[in-house]
């Protein structure tokens, strides 16, 4: 058995611990993502998808259970180690596009690289520009987020998530506010990175049409995985 990109062991998450409104949102999840998998995470609103993605992205800590990233337990890691792991190994596309208003599109894309190693090399800048080209923003490289439409901002965020050449891409409704055509293009981009670089993808989507095109479909309802199907014929 190869090392899983991601492995969840009895993962639980509660909010408001120690307060009268304490509530468990994720009730002990077990899950494995193999290298090169392309999985969709679906489920009704409020089922805990964003909560789960935040845990997987090491942005938040589980209440109990552990999360193995490329075989490495993450429970005991300190904040710096988690941050470094997040910056180098993971791409994150948030449900709501999160760009830094003070920086241009290219600079936003370069942000993970700059955080990790300072001034970007010319090669890194070329890479960032070609990623912006790939998401159809070749003409908008030097614009600040305020000068871009919502969909364009989302595409910058996607380019940024792909910039560190991550092992795992976590995307929370990345195409939520894109038109069908652009949504298809972005999805195609994910597929291409998946195919060409072996990028493992976990994408939250409400769009059944897109979920359909993933290799695997994990359904979350009320903080429990109720179904987990690999599509016949496309299984690796």
């Amino acid at each position: 058995m190869t090392t899983a990109v991601l492995e969840l062991l009895e993962l639980r998450k509660s909010y408001g611990i120690g307060t009268p409104v304490e509530v468990e949102v994720l009730h002990g999840l077990d899950l494995r993502l193999e290298p090169g998998e392309f999985a969709a995470l679906i489920g009704p609103s409020g089922s805990g998808k964003t909560t789960l993605l935040n845990l997987l992205g090491l942005l938040d800590r589980p209440t109990s259970g552990d999360l193995l990233l490329l075989g490495q337990p993450t429970r005991e890691l300190d904040d710096d180690a988690r941050t470094a792991l997040r910056g180098r190994r993971m791409g994150f596309v948030f449900q709501f596009h999160h760009l830094l208003p003070a920086f241009t599109a290219t600079e936003n894309v370069l942000m993970p690289v700059m955080a990790a190693s300072g001034r970007p090399s010319p090669a890194a800048i070329r890479e960032a520009e070609s990623l912006l080209d790939a998401v159809g923003l070749a003409d908008h490289r030097h614009k600040k987020p305020a000068e871009l439409s919502g969909g364009q901002q989302q595409r910058v965020a996607i380019a940024r998530a792909l910039m560190p050449n991550p092992a795992l891409l976590l995307a929370d409704e990345p195409t939520g506010n894109l038109d069908t055509h652009t949504a298809d293009e972005v999805f195609e981009l994910f597929r291409r990175f998946n195919r060409e670089r072996g990028l493992t993808v976990l994408v939250v989507t409400h769009d059944p049409r897109l979920a359909e095109r993933c290799d695997r479909e994990i359904k979350l309802v009320d903080g429990r995985i109720v179904s987990d199907e690999r599509r016949v014929g496309r299984q690796r």
Binding site: D80, H98, P101, A102, A116
Partner: protein, 405 residues
């Protein structure tokens, strides 16, 4: 640091109004501190300068006569009362040797033996009590530059030529070339010629001092070959007391520094320095609080961006440094502007003084160290003020921070 620096600069540029507000606050604080320092240190330097312009830094004199029962041989009435004796004029023992020794002291820049004592000056019906000062001109003028303060006549104290102050000249109605009779306690008296009239600018001196050569003063005061004191000038005026003590230890004579004779002045200066330091400290503190509060607001406003940065792999210490740098940058810029403002203020003050009195009342003390010090101080204060907001920013939880919209 490139990343932190870039972020800090961008965030400052982005929050233009806040940045300008902080910079303005620091600029005002720095200009107040710089101007106040220049003003007060200039004032103090000029006071000390004026005081020491007419006074030796250290005076060496013969030890005081000790108080003892009045049982002198020529005093027929025996008395058991103990009284402070009226001080008799006494010569410093071996003063020529002493002068030679003192000339070799490294910290001492000028040595001048003097013979001084009280006398009465008469001219016609007018008489005034005066203080005779017999001195060697080449040596004495390096202690008090009387030669540069001559009003009329010339600086000459050979033979029977004497110098008197402007007020004494007026009191006696004497002008250059005229004669004055000087009498001392022992019934000695002689006639002298006024060679020049000086104005030292200190009332007491211009009214009482009569300068002459060593020899005639020794004769009048009945101290043949003697010197009542040795005046000294030292390299560093504030080392005077230490030098005096060293002289006292090494040569066993009585040596008194200007710092002891003018201890009231020094106390006043110290008190003044303390109050201006207090003002400066409070200005610095209020500037620091201003910076801290504006930065704290900016951390709250930027928490979403901080969350994004954290999610993108920015570590807590990096976030901390970004905000500390912001404090330091606004501190430096504010200090630069504040220094310019202070420079303008100082120039304006000097021009005003010039317009009012024809010559600057006193020069403000403007040194490069003052500006460099104020600038460094502002950078440090900016950084210190940023500590609390920066730590808050670094502690932000990325998920929480990004939720804040």
């Amino acid at each position: 640091m490139w990343f932190e620096w870039t972020l800090a600069v961008r965030l400052l540029r982005e929050g233009r109004a806040q940045t300008l507000l902080i910079i303005a606050g620091i600029a005002v604080g720095v200009s107040v501190i710089v101007f106040l320092t220049a003003l007060i240190s200039g004032l103090q330097a000029s006071i000390i300068d004026r005081t020491l312009g007419t006074q030796a830094h250290i005076r060496i004199s013969a030890p005081d006569d000790v108080a003892r029962p009045l049982r002198e041989a020529d005093d027929s009435a025996l008395s058991s009362r103990i009284e402070q004796r009226a001080q008799r004029l006494r010569s410093v023992e071996q003063w020529p040797l002493l002068v030679e020794e003192l000339d070799r002291f490294d910290e001492v820049t000028a040595v001048s033996p003097i013979v001084s004592g009280p006398a009465l000056a008469r001219r016609g019906a007018a008489n005034r009590s005066v203080a005779l000062v017999g001195m060697e001109p080449e040596r004495y003028t390096r202690i008090v530059p009387v030669d540069r303060e001559m009003k009329t006549g010339e600086f000459r104290v050979v033979g029977r030529d004497i110098l008197i102050g402007t007020i004494l000249a007026q009191d006696l109605g004497a002008s250059v070339g005229e004669r004055i009779r000087l009498e001392t306690g022992g019934g000695r008296s002689d006639v002298f010629t006024v060679a020049g009239i000086f104005e030292l600018g200190v009332r007491d001196l211009d009214q009482r001092i009569v300068y002459m050569g060593m020899k005639p003063a020794q004769a009048l005061l009945d101290l043949p070959g003697g010197a009542t004191g040795v005046d000294l000038r030292v390299r560093e005026i504030f080392d005077a007391e230490a030098v005096a003590q060293r002289i006292q230890r090494r040569l066993g004579t009585k040596a008194e520094s200007w710092m002891v004779t003018n201890s009231n002045l020094l106390d006043a200066i110290a008190a003044q320095s303390m109050s201006t330091n207090l003002i400066k400290i409070f200005v610095a503190i209020s500037a620091a609080f201003g910076i801290a509060s504006v930065l704290a607001v900016s951390v709250v406003q930027r928490s979403r961006e901080i969350g994004i940065l954290r999610a993108m792999g920015t570590r807590r210490p990096q976030v901390l440094r970004v905000f500390l740098l912001q404090g330091a940058i606004v501190g430096l810029i504010g200090a630069a502007i504040g220094s310019l403002m202070a420079g303008g203020l100082i120039g304006f003050w000097q021009a005003m003084g010039l317009a009012r009195s024809g010559r600057g009342a006193f020069d403000l003390m403007v040194t490069p160290e003052l500006f460099i010090g104020a600038t460094l101080l502002a950078a440090v204060i900016g950084m210190l003020a940023a500590v609390a907001p920066a730590r808050r920013a670094a502690r932000l939880d990325p998920v929480e921070a990004m939720r804040a919209t």
